[in-house]
């Protein structure tokens, strides 16, 4: 494929500064050199190899430190205005390997809870960043509101069950929850970023170190995609955490979702863009009907167009979300009550579009799309896995109800 991806899948470049473009360019070079051009070498066990390669991305290139405040040795992009740049960078990571992007996105979204201006939590940053975000590539997993279990009445966050509860103790907080299904590399996580409720039903976020007494992990799950991201069920049995590990401010959970939707949207779009590259190359010399180029057949060309259309519109939508998060100044910045539903709406659409692009393109590629050799099926499984995780539970229904509450002031749904 001869064209530059950014010339095909355009985005509003005015939203992104030179620093971000430079960083994204470095990530693209890493992706091309370390991952994309060497995929055939990694036929066996490539998921794990890619994660090893990602250490260079996080440590040498510095993705690990990008959201860290400067005061903690970071690059200091802990401002909403950096959202478009973060999106651009995570698209490049996703283009190389969605698992790497997924793990990084979850860690960044968790860090945003405590470090993102204007809601940066100084005491929590002091307590957590030096141990979990500033050195040695520690893994973080999320535990979000989701499906409840019949017969177990649970506090709710916008209809979704919150399976973790906290209560105040003399030294801090006690955290309890059973058979929780995290999102992220829970089997290898050193820290959990957890949506929880107190006994009054007030929701907040609490951080739980995995080595704290009372934390137990199950066996690694076998899941559709993101196979190098080892997930597992987790239980908290009266786990004591320090007072500063709990984020008391209102809207903390709502504030997590825009970053998740943005960064994971970027990852899926990046994976879909790489699929576009593979498909474009593949369609260059495939023939049908005894000699005609496949891409010159009107029906096949329409399918190819579908693929490009889904990716292009998803990318434009994703930058709209970045713009919403960033605002253009304090006056233009939306309150979390508005950012949340818009991020859910756009985030859901992005994942649907990315998956549709893969599904449509695979229809043309036939068995080539299904064999591991072409790497298409991995993108397909990875995007689907991200989409299902972001749904949480109930497919698009809970998000539709979020939107109904926002757009129509529904009170009962």
């Amino acid at each position: 494929m001869k064209k530059d991806l950014d010339e095909i899948f355009i985005y509003p470049k005015s939203l992104v500064d030179d620093d971000a473009i430079g960083f994204a360019s470095t990530v693209r070079d890493w992706a091309n050199k370390e991952i994309i051009s060497r995929r055939l070498e990694y036929q066996k066990n490539y998921d794990k190899l890619f994660v090893e390669k990602s250490k260079k991305l996080f440590v040498d290139i510095g993705l690990e430190k990008i959201l860290l405040p400067e005061g903690y040795g970071g690059i200091g992009w802990n401002s909403p205005s950096r959202a478009p740049g973060m999106l651009l960078i995570f698209s490049e990571v996703g283009r190389a390997d969605a698992t790497t992007g997924f793990i990084g996105a979850i860690k960044c979204a968790s860090l945003a809870v405590i470090s993102m201006q204007p809601n940066d939590e100084k005491r929590t940053c002091d307590a957590l960043i030096p141990h979990y975000f500033a050195k040695d590539l520690k893994n973080v997993a999320l535990i979000l509101p989701g499906a409840g279990v019949l017969g177990q009445e649970a506090p709710l966050f916008l209809g979704r069950s919150v399976g973790v509860n906290t209560h105040v103790t003399k030294r801090g907080h006690e955290v309890t929850g059973k058979d929780l299904r995290p999102m992220g590399p829970a089997a290898d996580a050193e820290l959990f970023c957890v949506a929880s409720c107190d006994k009054e039903g007030k929701s907040h976020i609490v951080f739980v170190p995995s080595d704290a007494e009372g934390v137990t992990k199950g066996m690694p799950l076998r899941q559709t995609g993101l196979n190098a991201c080892r997930n597992t069920d987790v239980s908290f049995d009266k786990v004591d955490v320090p007072r500063e590990y709990l984020i008391q401010r209102g809207g903390a959970i709502e504030g997590l979702y825009p970053w998740l939707n943005l960064l994971l949207g970027g990852v899926s779009i990046g994976a879909a863009m790489n699929f576009y590259e593979i498909l474009a190359d593949w369609s260059e010399n495939r023939t049908i009907k005894g000699g005609g180029l496949l891409k010159e057949n009107p029906l096949c060309a329409s399918v190819l167009a579908d693929v490009a259309e889904e990716i292009a519109t998803a990318r434009l939508m994703s930058f709209s979300l970045a713009h919403i998060i960033a605002g253009t100044g304090e006056r233009d910045r939306l309150p979390s009550t508005m950012t949340y539903p818009f991020s859910q709406m756009i985030g859901s659409r992005i994942q649907q579009s990315a998956l549709k692009a893969l599904n449509r393109g695979m229809e043309l590629m036939g068995s080539a799309g299904y064999a591991k050799e072409w790497h298409v099926e991995k993108h397909w499984r990875d995007i689907k896995t991200i989409q299902s995780y972001l749904c949480g539970v109930g497919a698009e229904a809970p998000i539709k109800l979020d939107l109904a509450r926002f757009f129509y002031d529904c009170r009962e749904v």
């Binding site: 559709t224 049908i288 005894g290 000699g291 299904y370 689907k384 896995t385 539970v393 809970p398």
Partner: protein
């Protein structure tokens, strides 16, 4: 929970023989396959778990299904001359697809090429006698492969109606009383060292679009010059191995050709394509019946707003549509099977007619699209649990995508439908 058999099927299409096949097969599959299917993905190359299962389904010491098509007097069950061939084939596909579509396709593709020589009125008694002992007397599973796809052509081989074999590059040259075959095939089910008997579409005159030059020739897999590559690693369908197959000056007796000039093409279009479509639908519907079973459990035991998911109107809208689609797809699947079984009736159509091919292609395309969409949505209903193999839905989601892609895929189905319904002449 409603039993999955309460999904609609035209009761007048259900024969006593179909019921018997279903009962026997379901009992075995639930006991011998269902408990182990989550381990299949890791067994994709070695088939240590999978192979003994096939022996139980197909071999003489098990259910013996691999001899179903052969005439009774050769040790078979005579399904090849049954008026219920389509219905029973569909039922077998549905029962197996409910458990594992990889198992289903590996078994059904064994019967698939044999259809061309064992179904009335095109029984080739010489070949039937030749191959019957291989399938009817074996305690172990014995597999066939139908080697269609070639590197250059994608779905061209399946597009016989338009291209009439013009693009086939695998050649068959008659020397004395032997065919000499040369060529390269990709992706046949049951290759990678599995199949004992290969059926190979060839051309006797490269570049010709004369149906007389289309030859379907049977080749024992251990014939000198046949090389099967290693199994491809795929997204799913672990019970089905696929590989490259090379034919280098492969010699087989001249009477290993299915029938002869003209008839080979006619039988290929009439038996392979429509029955392939019906079998595909059976697998898809079967997998969706299992989707319903697993989804029912999840939406009944997990909650949103502290009530079962299924009691929320918005979620009920989603799962209601999924169940509705399954219901309709099952009716379509049975109707597709009945199109096959009407072939000898005054009101039926020949299997190689444009109508049968166009309609069954259209049906398969519709059911495959519904299945791909519904499995995807069901995974989203399960959310963070949807990608977990323990809930089985994600495995079906990976597996059934292949059914949408095979036999020329969605676009060829659309073309065949257009040809029939709009009298298109150049597609």
């Amino acid at each position: 929970m409603k039993h999955f058999d309460e999904f609609s099927r035209p009761e007048e299409y259900v024969s006593p023989m179909m019921k018997h096949f279903r009962t026997v097969l379901r009992n075995l599959l639930e006991k011998e396959v269902m408990p182990y299917r989550r381990e299949f993905d890791e067994d994709w190359d070695e088939h240590r778990i999978i192979k003994p299962i096939f022996d139980k389904i197909m071999g003489r010491n098990g259910l013996g299904f691999q001899r179903a098509l052969f005439p009774e007097k050769l040790g078979g069950w005579g399904l090849g001359h049954s008026d219920y061939l389509g219905g029973i084939g569909y039922a077998m596909a549905e029962e197996m697809g409910r458990v594992d579509t990889g198992i289903a396709v590996a078994f059904l593709v064994t019967l698939w090429p044999l259809l061309t020589i064992l179904v009335e009125p095109h029984v080739n008694w010489s070949l039937a006698r030749e191959f019957a002992p291989m399938f009817c007397n074996s305690d172990k599973a014995v597999f066939c492969a139908l080697c269609m796809t070639e590197p250059q052509g994608g779905a061209d081989i399946e597009n016989l109606e338009l291209l009439r074999g013009r693009t086939i590059r695998t050649t068959a040259r008659l020397e004395g009383n032997e065919w000499v075959i040369n060529g390269h095939k990709l992706w046949p089910t049951n290759t990678g060292g599995v199949a004992s008997l290969l059926a190979v579409p060839c051309t006797t005159s490269p570049g010709s679009d004369d149906p007389n030059d289309y030859a379907l020739i049977f080749v024992p897999a251990d014939t000198e010059g046949v090389t099967q590559g290693g199994a491809y690693e795929k997204a799913g369908m672990a019970a089905d191995k696929n590989s490259d197959v090379w034919f280098e000056d492969v010699r087989v007796p001249s009477w290993y050709r299915a029938h002869g000039p003209g008839t080979d093409a006619q039988v290929f279009m009439g038996h392979i394509i429509p029955l392939g479509n019906v079998g595909s639908m059976g697998m898809l519907v079967g997998s969706m019946l299992n989707l319903y079973e697993r989804l029912y459990e999840f939406v009944s035991t997990r909650t949103y707003q502290n009530r079962p998911l299924k009691e929320n109107d918005a979620i009920a809208g989603i799962i209601g549509q999924i169940a509705g689609d399954i219901d309709i797809c099952r009716i379509i699947g049975h109707e597709g099977a009945m199109i096959i079984d009407r072939r000898n009736k005054p009101y039926g159509k020949p299997l190689n007619s444009e109508e049968v091919i166009g309609k069954t292609r259209n049906m398969k395309y519709f059911v495959a699209d519904r299945a791909v969409e519904n499995f995807g949505r069901a995974m989203d209903v399960l959310g963070v649990y949807g990608v977990d193999r323990e809930w089985d839905i994600e495995k079906h989601w990976r597996d059934i995508k292949m059914i949408q892609l095979w036999m020329g895929g969605k676009q060829l189905c659309q073309m065949e439908a257009a040809r029939y319904f709009y009298n298109c002449n150049t597609l």
